[in-house]
């Protein structure tokens, strides 16, 4: 009696475990499948992939005779007056400026919301959160119209300014949360010992909240390095394009350069992917901190 129920238990366990692994394996394959496809395509000769590849095991796409041609053609890419070097430079200038501006503006604001009590504090915090309720297009249309009257369309600033401001809602609250988690006694003690507020901030608070500073930088980086919607509107001549606009131009209804597209996708995505995997723990904490505390 006992032994039979015991063996039944193990059969059930085995079935359960097989089902679990089957589910996890299927989901894992689905999760990486587009990446497998793009890697395979990047090494498949020819631009449109009509032939030149086959399925391994019936589902894994593999190039017949791998080539690295597409990677060299990315660097030689040009679209009527714009070159890869232009797009890389534009993307780097816009992204680096956005990250610096975002960190420089959100740290002091996060500090004030965390350490200071002043009239209008709650209202101001709410107004910084308000944009999370706006669909992006609500601001893109008027931003475009306003920027065109100031002559900022088709300039770096036309992207840097909106990207920086767009990062505020999340970043200010990530920094506020980070400063909240540092005991007040630490910076207050330093100030009693004669350190200026700026010095207490710079030498005590910032070093203790570096992971959050990194998270804020990363959000600003990703928002600007990969943005399409605003850049598509603001940057109008091919030599002002950023990398995402160039990538988008490679698959249009009229012509599809899948080979070059895939190679360029990998060049753009790999750095982001690596940084993301390193920081993912902080990213989730930053996003859900409020809900855990609230």
């Amino acid at each position: 009696m006992t032994s039979s129920s015991g063996s039944q238990w193990t059969v059930r366990k085995v079935v359960q475990s097989v089902l679990k692994h089957a589910f996890l394996i299927v989901m894992a394959v689905i999760s990486i499948y587009p990446v497998l496809w793009v890697v395979s395509t990047a090494f498949t000769p020819g631009e449109t992939l009509a032939t030149g590849w086959h399925f391994l095991l019936g589902f894994l796409p593999l190039p017949n005779s791998p080539t690295t041609d597409h990677f060299t053609s990315v660097f030689n890419l040009q679209v009527t007056g714009g070159t890869f070097a232009d797009w890389l430079r534009n993307s780097l200038v816009i992204t680096v400026s956005t990250v610096i501006a975002s960190v420089a503006l959100t740290l002091p604001a996060g500090y004030a919301f965390s350490r200071r009590v002043f009239p209008g504090r709650a209202g101001l915090m709410f107004s910084f959160l308000l944009p999370t309720m706006f669909p992006g297009v609500v601001t893109i249309i008027p931003q475009f119209l306003i920027f065109s009257t100031f002559g900022l369309v088709n300039t770096y600033l036309g992207c840097i300014i909106p990207y920086t401001v767009g990062s505020f809602a999340l970043s200010i609250f990530i920094m506020k949360g980070a400063f909240d988690s540092v005991p007040r006694d630490l910076d207050e003690a330093a100030m009693i010992d004669g350190a200026s507020e700026l010095r207490a901030f710079w030498q005590i608070l910032v070093p203790l909240t570096l992971p959050s500073v990194a998270t804020v930088s990363l959000w600003a980086f990703m928002g600007s390095w990969l943005d399409f919607a605003l850049a598509h509107v603001m940057l109008q001549t091919n030599n002002m394009w950023t990398l995402p606009l160039a990538l988008y131009s490679l698959i249009t209804p009229n012509y599809t350069y899948y080979g070059t597209f895939s190679a360029m996708s990998l060049i753009m995505a790999v750095p982001v992917f690596v940084v993301f995997m390193i920081f993912q723990k902080y990213l989730v904490t930053g996003l859900t901190a409020g809900s855990v505390k609230g």
């Binding site: 589910f23 996890l24 669909p135 297009v137 008027p142 399409f228 809900s291």
Partner: protein, 301 residues
Amino acid sequence: MASSLASVLERLKASKTSYLYILPALIGLLFLILYPFAYNVFISFTNMNLGHIRNFFLIGFRNYSYIFSDPDFLVIVENTVIWTFTNVIPTVALGLLLALVLNSKVRGKTAYRMFLIVPWAMPSFITLLIWKGMYDFQYGVFNRFLGQFSIAPINWLGDCHWAFFSIVVANIWLGYPFMMIIFSGALQSIPTELYEAASIDGAVGFRQMRHITVPLIRPTIILGLLLGSIWTFNNFNSAYLITAGGPGICTTIFITQAYNLAFGGLLNFSVAAAYAVVAFIFLFFPGLLWTRYMGVTRQAT
């Protein structure tokens, strides 16, 4: 007397520096988000379009009555609602299921996690274009796959219903890892003693699930549904990069409609602005709920 005066001055001075810290960010917020928002509402009451880029004037609610009487409007409302629900529910369900399986006794969790997180870690702008390539009628991987079984190629992006299905599948793929991560976090925070106590009392399997797991992670499920709805409703990339709203308006939702009207060559800014306002009204209440739920505006410490 003197000391109270000094303290008032002190507080004013302290507040002054507080405002100074926030001022640069506040200027950005005012001129780039709040003022444009108001300007958008204003434009929606004018006739600003290709013929009246500079010399536009107020025309009252005419853009709104135009939108509401346009037969396309109902299609777009329907698309937006279906888009939000067909994305959010499977995304949350799949994320929860994965989190539950990974939270149970199973070997190789870390390896599975690494793979499962890939759709979230890869930039969505790029993966969506990759999906577009995979859906390609002639050269795409899906039709080649079906071809192995002599199944006729499917016009993934050219057929109205398949196009909608295709972008939903791609967007679910983008969304479940994040849900899995937040649910894993919630599940790990449930003390194991609770399960042990329940087992001693004879409650196993589904009963543990119903009486311990579900009630304790309910707040996270609500958060997931809320965040998921806001993101999906607002997800320009997912609704635009693969199909650009097409074919026709088969996959057009509020925000892509507004974008296409303004920048799709028509320069119909006023009607686009009115669409954006309608989209904002749809989003406002879930958004308000979210900020309440996050509790971020509460007085901290």
